[in-house]
């Protein structure tokens, strides 16, 4: 067996599907965020794998660095929203909160 691009793409497809399932099936807002992180990591693996196996310099790695930074910003804002939601509504379940402000 020779490890090539398809193996990495398969791993990242599995990671993306699992993240999608977590986003769609979890009630806890933090669990939904974890699913989003899984999907972002899947895309990152794709970026780095393409930059390794398809000859176009280092652009893929730079793009994945940007994705990591944006994921950190997204996590900070999302977790602040979850904490505000917990303080105002007493729950972190995404389906019981139905208004933007109380």
């Amino acid at each position: 067996m020779n490890i090539g691009l398809p193996h990495f793409l398969t791993v990242s497809a599995a990671l993306f599907a699992l993240g999608l399932f977590a986003v769609m099936s979890r009630r806890n807002a933090v669990g939904i965020l974890m699913g989003v992180e899984l999907m972002l990591n899947a895309s990152n693996i794709n970026f780095v794998a393409f930059s390794r196996y398809v000859e176009h310099g280092i652009d893929g790695q730079i793009m994945s660095a940007f994705v990591i930074v944006l994921a950190a910003a997204e996590a900070a804002v999302a977790l602040a929203i979850v904490l505000a939601m917990y303080r105002n509504f007493g729950t972190v379940h995404a389906d019981t909160v139905q208004s933007l402000k109380q």
Partner: protein, 196 residues
């Protein structure tokens, strides 16, 4: 041969805990499984010769985002009783959709003849830094602005409203669905109620 085994190990380290992240009924277990998934992804980056991205992954994701996620999980404990998830009406469509997406992606991956170029790993940090300062100078500055805006936004979102804290907390509990979560919120005083 050794390289193949290392890849298989890293792929399993990435995917198997991800299954637990998606399916675990306990959100704390899911958070700690996410740790192994992120470390496995960092290992895959290192396997692909992207040393800078691998180190950044460990520092930002494992050291920053994951700690933030676990803090939030532990600051917002919900009671273990009651429904942990959506009912079957959400579970089945999610499973069907996820399997369909994976099938589509797998079909796309296997139906294309991908190029495979020879490659000797080289340090990438200097090249990435040069690119940040030359070709990618505008996205680099822009993303730093986004990070600053996100930080300010998070601080504003999490700020306590001392003026109408009492009214807000009482209404929030009353307006929420009559569930055990709402009862739990009244049992444990929130910071707003302490101010009142």
């Amino acid at each position: 041969m050794i390289g193949d085994l290392i890849f298989v190990g890293l792929a399993l380290l990435t995917v198997v805990p991800a299954v637990w992240v998606a399916f675990s009924p306990n959100i704390v277990h899911a958070g700690f499984s996410l740790l192994f998934t992120l470390l496995g992804a960092a290992g895959l980056y290192a396997y692909l010769g992207a040393d800078f991205i691998a180190v950044t992954q460990v520092m930002v994701y494992v050291g920053g985002v994951l700690v933030l996620v676990l803090f939030t999980v532990m600051m917002t404990r919900v009671p273990r009783t009651g429904r942990r998830r959506h009912g079957l009406d959400h579970y089945v469509p999610a499973a069907i959709f996820a399997i369909a997406v994976f099938g589509l992606l797998y079909k796309a991956v296997t139906s294309v003849q991908w190029p495979a170029r020879d490659f000797t790993p080289q340090p990438t940090t200097a090249e990435i830094g040069t690119n940040f300062m030359t070709n990618y100078i505008f996205p680099f500055e822009y993303v730093s602005l986004v990070l600053l805006a996100a930080m300010i936004g998070a601080a504003i979102l999490i700020r306590e409203h001392r003026g109408n804290g009492e009214k807000g907390a009482a209404e929030g509990v009353a307006a929420g669905d009559v569930t055990q979560e709402a009862e739990d919120a009244t049992a444990t005083p929130t910071p707003d109620e302490e101010v009142a």
